[in-house]
């Protein structure tokens, strides 16, 4: 193992193997004849696609992979040279750039062109344009599943029925047509049962951030925990096994009084600061970014990003095999960025209180308005409601030009000092 390679726990190795297998499937459809759908993480209908034997390719995940492999910067610049604005989402541009370079998957083989684009429009405007751009490229059937935004902080029956009707009358018939497979609702129920099992264990894992020391890192570690359930594996037996394995690992850490494992392979038990993080991480400098936290003794006990592809803790949603299509609709409606800003603030406030956090850190992403627009209001409200300090840093998803390590580190160090000062002030006041 090289000095730069992250230390892997068994669950991480399993996930790595699952992802590698999926990339092999996505790059071998000419041989296997399997069909491929491109779709998105929020509002991901993996169980439904599985009913038709359709593989799931997620452009955001490809962009993340290419961000972590230091390829996205070049792809983004290629897209900008081709006329895409410097102002828009870098996931989109990384994807467009990837296509322009032959759409090579992490396994070194070209991705198969999608047979269908399943645009699950959930919580992000950019998705709509992204799929119009992909449609222009691939000229394949495109399914738009419009998921209404929870503007009043809750979904209505009208919203749910609208989604179910789209599923019944447009999405399912088109998937039948593309795959040549007849829809079997009992098969969907079976997959949803698997989903619910995995979701129970994911919620248990994320809930352990309430412990001191926290046996998990709910942001940097959290992105691994959510990997299978947010991507091509929700509903699979693999995902069920992954979350059982992960739960056992976390339980062992609890039993030993350990914190999460850092990428350096050390046990992160000396936790000085407990932080809630809002917003996605930066992927181009992911490990460097993480190190800035554990070097300072900051552990992330809860995060909103781990709810972007499904929110299972806040109001207890689980996929329900007894109401399969309604359940898929409710899942889409409840994804984090599909909830209105007051609800997002309520969620973060609850995390601050339930996880006994010292503060809220917002990683504001330059090219993600869905998350970022309103985050300064979120910070003010959380500070007002909890009396705990907030901090604001700015990076980007996969554009390395917008990750300024010195600035971020400086800001984080100042923030942790601020938390210290607040604590001292509180102690003095109590004496």
């Amino acid at each position: 193992m090289s000095a730069q390679e992250a230390v892997k726990e068994p669950s991480m190795l399993k996930q790595k193997e699952m992802i590698a297998r999926n990339y092999d499937l996505l790059t071998s459809t000419r041989e296997t004849g399997r069909k491929v759908a491109s779709t998105f993480v929020p509002g991901n209908l993996n169980e439904l696609l599985m009913c038709f034997g359709i593989l799931n390719n997620l452009p955001e995940i490809n962009a993340i992979q290419n961000g972590m492999r230091k390829l996205s910067g070049g792809y983004i610049m290629d897209a900008e040279k081709a006329g895409h604005s410097e102002d828009v989402c870098t996931y989109v541009k990384a994807d467009i750039g990837l296509m322009s370079k032959g759409a090579i998957a992490p396994n070194g083989k070209p991705f198969s062109a999608p047979d269908v684009l399943l645009l699950s429009y959930t919580g992000c405007f950019t998705f709509m344009k992204w799929f119009e751009l992909l449609r222009e490229q691939y000229k394949c059937p495109t399914l738009m599943l419009h998921v209404p935004y929870e503007g009043d902080g809750k979904w209505t029956l009208n919203m749910r029925d609208y989604i179910v009707k789209q599923l019944k009358e447009e999405v399912i018939p088109m998937l039948e047509q593309v795959s040549g497979v007849k829809f079997d609702i009992d098969l969907l129920r079976q997959y949803l049962r698997n989903s619910a099992k995995a979701e129970d264990n994911l919620v248990w894992v994320l809930d352990q951030g309430k412990r001191t020391p926290s046996p998990i890192d709910a942001y940097f570690g959290g992105v691994y925990y959510i990997g299978p359930i947010f991507t091509a594996f929700r509903g699979t037996q693999d995902a069920v096994e992954y979350y059982e394995m992960l739960r056992k690992e976390i339980q062992e850490r609890i039993d030993k009084g350990q914190g999460p494992l850092t990428p350096d392979g050390t046990d992160f038990a000396n936790q000085k600061y407990r932080i809630v993080v809002e917003g996605p991480p930066n992927w181009t400098n992911f490990r460097e970014f993480w190190k800035m936290f554990y070097d300072e003794g900051a552990v992330v006990v809860a995060s909103s990003y781990t709810k972007v592809g499904g929110m299972y803790d806040y109001d207890g949603f689980r996929h329900d095999p007894e109401h399969p299509l309604e359940s898929l609709a409710e899942y889409c409606l409840g994804c984090y960025t599909n909830r209105n800003l007051p609800t997002r603030i309520d969620v973060l406030q609850k995390y601050m209180e339930d996880f006994n956090a010292d503060g809220l850190l917002i990683n504001s992403i330059k090219s993600c308005n869905s998350f970022s627009a309103g985050q300064l209001m979120i910070m003010r409200e959380i500070e007002k409601r909890t009396g705990k300090p907030g901090a604001f840093i700015e990076t980007d998803l996969v554009d390395p030009r917008y990750f300024s390590a010195a600035n971020v580190k400086n800001r984080l160090e100042s923030y942790f000092q601020m938390i210290d000062q607040k604590r001292q002030g509180a102690r003095v006041a109590a004496e």
């Binding site: 970022s372 627009a373 309103g374 209001m377």
Partner: protein, 390 residues
């Protein structure tokens, strides 16, 4: 008869007045009147009107509003309209507004609806969703229900019922308004030197504040006056502006494009007033009729899904053909996701159709017009040169 100069001067006064005095006066004239603000791009103003309330378009603060508080709510990489709108709110310029509607445009406007709920809890605030599925039995059913929810909310705010007949009267008033708007736009296509876009723009902006009936009369007066006047025809290039449907360009930018040698013969400023391209029928269920009009006869813009590749960009190409335009200027606000993400696809369609284009970005408070004038002027000249060569 009023002259165009007199009508435009009144429109300019309304445009310059960030205290919305006209709307305040309307409200104060009769006790119990209420005002509902709305942001771009589309809300069915008929419902507000039918409740006896005044719909007022809130299109940001323009270039004359100093944004102090608003910048504290938004990062540098977010467009300007939400911050200037917050500035209008916190400086009490919108304290006469009883309700605010935030339509489906983009994530920034969507999230602003939540900020508004927190900052102004006594204002009726609603994110107004429109369908992205255009089947009558799916998107239409959903949308009709959303319209009913909006109707219920507005009834509560107004303290009175909105009957079907109220709605039909309002639909008729807006049908008439849209017809005259189409006349103005047609007149500008035919004789752009008689109806400069800097004037047409102000005329349309006045309609964001004035009661619809008064605005319709004003446009008729303008048309009559414009037809009666003789202005010199210049050898300008006919262009279509696209991408300016939400945050508005400063008036100086609109003037600069004209001064650089362009006649703007179509645009997408303030689409709310011509979103529905045909009359909404007055028979049957009025909400269903509004829904049908949205599904079947509404404009294509970047904040609306285009359901087939074949249709993508056709609306813009048709607009160029219909307006006999020679080129397109993509003028989008900085950081505008819908316009900027859509732009490459539209540019591909224009290139396929052999229609030249240029692109630039602006903010509502952009101050330096010389680069815009040079870019637009060069574009106009190049079209003229190519035309002569061909």
């Amino acid at each position: 008869m009023a002259t165009t100069a007199e009508i435009v001067a009144r429109c300019q006064d309304i445009f310059d007045d960030l205290d919305f005095t006209v709307a305040r006066q309307w409200k104060a004239a009769v006790p119990g009147r209420k005002v509902v603000g709305f942001m771009p791009v589309y809300v069915p103003r008929e419902l507000i009107h039918a409740a006896g309330m005044l719909p007022v378009g809130i299109f940001g603060g323009g270039d004359s509003l100093e944004v102090i508080h608003g910048d504290a709510y938004y990062q540098s990489y977010i467009c300007r309209i939400p911050r200037s709108t917050i500035e209008l709110g916190v400086t009490h310029r919108l304290d006469f507004v009883d309700g605010m509607l935030f339509p489906f445009v983009c994530d920034v406007i969507r999230n602003l609806s939540g900020i508004w709920k927190l900052m102004f809890p006594n204002v009726y605030t609603r994110f107004f969703d429109t369908p992205q599925n255009f089947r009558k039995d799916i998107g239409g059913k959903y949308y009709t229900h959303e319209l009913q929810e909006l109707r219920d909310g507005l009834e509560n705010l107004a303290g009175r019922k909105i009957t079907d007949d109220d709605l039909r009267r309002s639909i008729a008033a807006y049908n008439e308004n849209r017809r005259v708007i189409r006349d103005v736009y047609k007149f500008r296509i035919d004789r752009p030197w008689q109806a400069p876009t800097s004037e047409v723009y102000l005329l349309m902006r006045a309609g964001m504040v004035l009661p619809v009936e008064e605005h319709t009369r004003m446009m008729r007066d303008y048309l009559a006056a414009a037809k009666a006047e003789n202005r010199p025809m210049r050898d300008n290039t006919r262009i279509v502006i696209t991408g300016s449907f939400c945050e508005q360009p400063p008036l100086n930018l609109i003037k600069s494009i004209e001064m650089s040698g362009c006649y703007v013969v179509d645009d997408d400023y303030m689409l709310v007033n011509r979103w529905l391209m045909e009359d909404v029928p007055l028979d049957g269920d009025p909400l269903e009729r509004l829904s049908d009009a949205f599904l079947e006869h509404s404009v294509e813009t970047a904040c609306k899904y285009v359901d087939t590749e074949a249709k993508k960009g056709r609306f813009l190409v048709d607009s160029v053909r219909r307006a006999r335009a020679e080129g397109v200027i993509f003028a989008a606000p900085s950081f505008c996701d819908p316009a900027l993400l859509d732009r490459p696809m539209l540019q591909h369609r224009l290139a396929e159709a052999g229609i030249p284009y240029i692109a630039f970005k602006y903010a509502e408070n952009s101050g330096q017009m010389q680069p815009i004038r040079e870019q637009a002027g060069t574009f106009a000249d190049s079209i003229k040169l190519w035309s002569e060569a061909s």
